[in-house]
């Protein structure tokens, strides 16, 4: 890590000197826009947009004055101790088996993780900063990130590695949360585009129209901020905004042929480049699935790169160079050779994963994650699970079984853990956090299963559409590949796509996301409470009062003979009583004693000539217990 950091520092310092003659005039801030187009297997096309802003802001006080970097990014760096932040909003699922690996990983729904580092930073202060940070970006991106709190956040121990650089080696904290239910839509795309220096007015971002972006099989918007500090007052902030889209050519209109063009994918042609950008380039993959296409117009240059033993070829369209030459590039078309029926098949990438839920019913189930290694060497695998609090996991049922995929003999064995971190969940407070590390044998599939119980929620805790089910977020699988097959991610010290060319390293850190799961928690029939519960409660309440009263009180019947029957005498009697009560206030003051007396009288079963004239009530009740 330290080695990488040093290299990175060197690189960014070099970069600063090279790009001294920047277009924006301010040599400290640089903006790059890139598009990578990769045809994928099964008539799919991956288009990847990357907008990178780098700002060598020096000391922290300079953060008040931004030019290309959005002000909100500068402000969070000013306010919080966050050093690295990843947010992604995704719809769909990246299919590793046919599409290979994406340049930037993301899981369905919203996913956030951040590294915090600072002096005297405690875990609780990180928690509060984390919540505030999520709230800030909830507003910035119009996403439900405000639901990120301690009940769905964990601090991963091993899975995430920091990509930032801090001047002093202080304690680092990481927080991770995912909201798999989040639906990504236009309302997220628009604010995301507003963070760009040119907005959606010009440049590559003008291609991103919601009508076409959301008509894809997979689309993922992401935002990555990191700081790189050589010394406390010599810092770089790097903001990378990416949009990763996978088009299915069969879903496009007039899909009779396999040809496609930028205009057909995005509904409009290129609108020049962003004037503030230092570079704006389009990379088109020319090997693998891209090999059979003919490009119109043909590119000015082609770059071939060898990374980890696997070569790739990219055609490069440099928009700025083209405009200097006087060409205005409006559209790029991919023409497939006519009459070709069979597509070149792709082999599965070295490592891929699937996850599913087993078991029937709303009481319990099993979460099974299958990780497949198609490589000829064993691979280290690190699996991180974030299970929400409404699903109870049982650690003793955790099992890793591996099955060899070879033809003929099938062998099953139980794999041992190399590493296990488990933080049990707590109802309504903490999610279950599980990290497992193991060595996956070559050419085999490991299935990691853990049994779970579903909790019966309180009735206000059910979301609208309660019978839709609750989500369990994707598992994050991390590994280190020894070779670069299908691997396209940028190296940790790089920030442009071209930095991944010829970037051979001893190992390639790979992270995968699996499918999210829907669990059907036991759900009450929400049409019934008003009918049944309310009625039953009313009946019980109505019945309880009299029954309790009858059951706990002694009933004494007292015949009130002193009241005369005659009407006139009744009035006379009343008047007399009034007068009597005024004359004898002491009797009013001792009602308790009177009660006692009456009861005693009753018990003795006396005859009728009692003098209890002061009690009009027909019966006197006394608590018997």
């Amino acid at each position: 890590m330290r080695h990488a950091a040093a290299l990175l520092l060197l690189l960014c310092l070099c970069g600063l000197q090279i790009h001294a003659h920047s277009r924006s005039g301010n040599s400290d801030e640089k903006f790059h826009e890139e598009i990578v187009v990769r045809p994928l297997a099964g008539d799919h096309v991956n288009t990847y947009f990357q907008f990178t802003t780098r700002w060598h802001y020096g000391a922290r006080d300079n953060l008040f004055h931004t030019q290309l970097t959005p002000r909100v990014i500068a402000e969070i760096l000013q306010t919080y101790d966050v050093k690295e932040l990843h947010i992604s909003l995704t719809q769909g699922l990246w299919r590793y088996e046919s599409w290979g690996y994406p340049i930037v990983e993301a899981t369905g729904g919203a996913e956030v993780w951040a590294w915090f580092s600072g002096a005297n930073l405690t875990s609780s202060s990180v928690n509060s900063q984390w919540n505030k940070l999520a709230n800030v970006f909830s507003g910035v991106l119009c996403a439900s990130l405000n639901f990120v709190d301690n009940t769905n956040s964990i601090a991963p121990k091993h899975t995430f590695r920091p990509q930032f650089m801090d001047a002093s080696s202080r304690t680092r904290h990481v927080r991770y949360a995912s909201l798999p239910r989040e639906i990504v839509c236009t309302e997220n795309l628009t604010p995301w585009k507003k963070l760009l220096p040119c907005g959606s007015a010009s440049g590559f971002a003008s291609l991103l129209n919601s009508g076409h972006v959301h008509n894809t099989k997979y689309h993922s918007l992401s935002l990555k901020v990191r700081t790189l500090c050589a010394q406390p007052d010599n810092c770089v902030v790097e903001l990378t905004q990416t949009a990763n889209l996978v088009y299915d050519l069969k879903l496009l209109e007039q899909s009779s042929s396999r040809d496609f063009s930028l205009r057909r994918l995005f509904g409009m042609g290129l609108n020049g480049f962003c004037e503030l950008a230092d570079s704006s380039k389009i990379y088109v993959q020319r090997n693998e699935q891209g090999q059979r296409y003919q490009l119109v117009p043909s590119p000015l240059e082609e770059v071939s790169s060898t990374r980890g033993g696997f070569g790739s070829v990219y055609a490069v369209y440099d928009m700025q160079k083209l405009s200097e030459l006087g060409d205005r590039l409006f559209n790029i078309a991919w023409l497939a050779p006519k009459g070709e029926r069979r597509q070149p098949s792709t082999s599965a990438p070295p490592l891929y994963a699937h996850r599913y839920l087993l078991g029937a019913g709303q009481e319990r189930g099993r979460i099974v994650t299958e990780v497949t290694n198609t490589h000829w060497e064993p691979l280290p695998v690190l699996l991180m699970e974030l299970v929400p609090w409404y699903v109870h996991t049982y650690l003793h049922t955790l099992r890793i079984r591996s099955k060899t995929n070879g033809h003929g003999h099938r062998r099953e064995q139980v794999l041992p853990f190399k590493l296990l971190h488990y933080a049990p969940g707590k109802q309504r407070e903490l999610p279950t956090h599980l990290e497992i590390g193991f060595q996956l044998p070559p050419q085999s599939t490991a299935s990691i299963s853990i049994e779970v119980d579903y909790l019966l929620l309180k009735w206000l805790e059910y979301p609208p559409d309660a019978n839709h089910g609750h989500y369990i977020g994707a598992a994050v699988i991390s590994s280190q590949l020894p070779m670069g097959r299908n691997y396209t991610a940028l190296p940790v010290e790089g920030h442009l796509f071209k930095h991944s060319f010829n970037a051979t390293r001893p190992g390639y850190v790979l992270t995968l996301r699996t499918e999210a799961l829907i669990v059907g928690l036991p759900t009450p029939d929400f049409s019934m409470p008003y009918n049944v519960i309310c009625l039953a409660c009313t009946v019980v309440a109505l019945a309880f009062g009299p029954i309790h009263s009858v059951a706990t009180k002694l009933i004494i019947v007292e015949r009130n003979t002193t009241i005369p029957r005659n009407f006139l005498r009744k009035i006379w009697h009343k008047i007399k009583r009034r007068a009597g009560s005024k004359n004898e206030p002491t009797e009013q003051e001792e009602p308790e004693r009177e009660h006692q007396r009456v009861a005693d009288l009753n018990e003795r079963n006396d005859d009728d000539d009692r003098t209890a004239t002061d009690y009009d009530d027909a019966c006197v009740q006394r608590a018997s217990m």
């Binding site: 719809q91 769909g92 087993l358």
Partner: protein, 658 residues
Amino acid sequence: MGLLSDPSLSTHNKLVDSLAKHVRKVCYTFYAAGVVWFFCLALPEFNHGTYLSENALSPGLVYPEIRIDANRLTVQLLEELQRERKDHTATTPYAWITAKFNEFGLETHTHNYTLRYPFGGGKEYHGKNVYGILRAPRIGSTEGIVFSAPYRAPSSVHPDISPSVPLLLAFAEFARRKNYWAKDLIFLVTEQEQLGMQAWLEAYHDGDREVDPTKAYLFPGNLPARAGSLQAALNIEVQDLDIDYIDVKIEGLNGKLPNLDMFNLVQRIMAREGISSGYKQTPRKARRSTFSTFEQNLRHIIAMLTTQSSGVPNGNHGLFHRYRIDALTIAAMKRTTHSNIKTSPNSVAIPLLKAIEGIARSLNNLLERFHQSFFFYVIVHNDRYISIGDYMPALVALVACAFIKAYLTWSTLDTESSGAPEINDSDTSDKLPLPYGSVLIFLTAALLIGYLGNVLPLQQYFQEIPMSAAPLTASLLTTLMLIGFVLPFFVVLPPGGLELLHIGLLLIYGCALIVVGLLNFALGFFVAVISVPLVIALNTNAPDTPESSSVGLRALIRVYTLLLNPLVIIYGIVLIMTFYQFPELGLQQLLLRAAIAAMDAVTFALIDSVIYGNWLYFAVCTVFLPIWIICWTLALARRRDPEEDEDDEDPQVKLKTN
């Protein structure tokens, strides 16, 4: 505080005493009320019109987009399939189906399973399902819908339904080009009727389970790919592209039904496409009948309950219900009548394809799983139904007889035991302690016999006997039945035991019927209708008391009890069915054939219970057989002779208290 122990509320009040005198009348009134209520259900006043309670379905809100080219594809695929069928007479043309799925751009997988047949020395059968998954663009594979078509090889004895596969494929090809899917669509072609579907579902939901090869019978294996939680399923059985009408099959395993919304959805979509469709739909000719509405309704109800009561699903959809996936089968029947109005071959499959598209798009709209409270219903007519609140009173009235009789018998029994000392006020005070222990032992013995019927046929040492499955199971059951039959001749309960046993029987019987009726109303109701009269008529009073029944009635009760023996009932049902199927047979042949068929039926029920989880066999063995043994004991009413001297006083006591 004396509310609960108020002596005036004891069991000996006048009302109870007078009621106890007329137990049978009260019970027969309830019985009649229950049966009358059931018949009333067929009246239009007692049932309701169907409606869609799930608004998200909104059937028919979108225009069908499927065009004439889909029809062309269907016809072409059907021709190709017919050619394939000539080469594969006994198996599914996997390669052809897989190739088509791949060509349409679906993720294609195969699923292998193995069945170890419980009988016949553990012979193994292998099967293979093919499925393609359309990964929906709007979702990350968290939810899915299944469209399945069973494939029948040309050698199958069932009617040919091979056009279902081309229809499924044509719809898959159409759906692949649409971007609005919010649930993964699984297109599944199963083989070997329900076995393939059962194996696939088990693999989908329990794929990682390590099965013990000596205990399990079906080894479903695991699936290579899944599509999240399944929301609904539609099974298609099409006999011909040119269809006459559609029969919507809904009865599932153990009498479970899909949500009524799903049935209504299918009905509405079919109506929109102008396809004649309905529950237990018959050809057009028969529908123009002269039944009154009441009679027609009643036939419909009884037909539905009959199908439900066996607990055997009448299509592949029935196995989904076990996993809380709503499913039904649309069985399209070949046009045999009105052959002059044959539709043009250019658009022959279009109505059905449009209907499938409409159903798929409505299901795709679902935000939530089907959950509105219509899982228990009886369909009266295609657009009328009876909800559980309306039909349950019929069963409750029948079962109430058992409980009322139990209470009244108990109250009089109580008088006997506590009243005796008062009258004799001598040493008889401790003479009549109720023999709880021996009655309990008797009950346990009866239950044990039933349990053995459940367990024995699958034991290893019985399977090694060189006998085929059906006679083996049948002879084992008959043996157990005979043990139950002779049990009362050898075991005679002490005095008071019969009365106590009677009360025990009534309580067990009532509870069993209510539970069975809640799980499978049809089964519970039919059992109640035939057995409640016996339970009411049963009388344990000593023969010489005035309360006891006459000799003739007693004999009648015994004969009726014998008739109600589960094996006799099964034989009777099979006999009637055989009679209707083969009316040309002579009496002797008929009886013999029915006996063989009944043995097969018992074996199939047993196999159903171990492979599919049908609990009919279990219920008959574990619940109904012991109840029958107790009934038989009570019908015989054999008393212990040596205690004749003690019985001298009993008649007096009963005379006074009863």
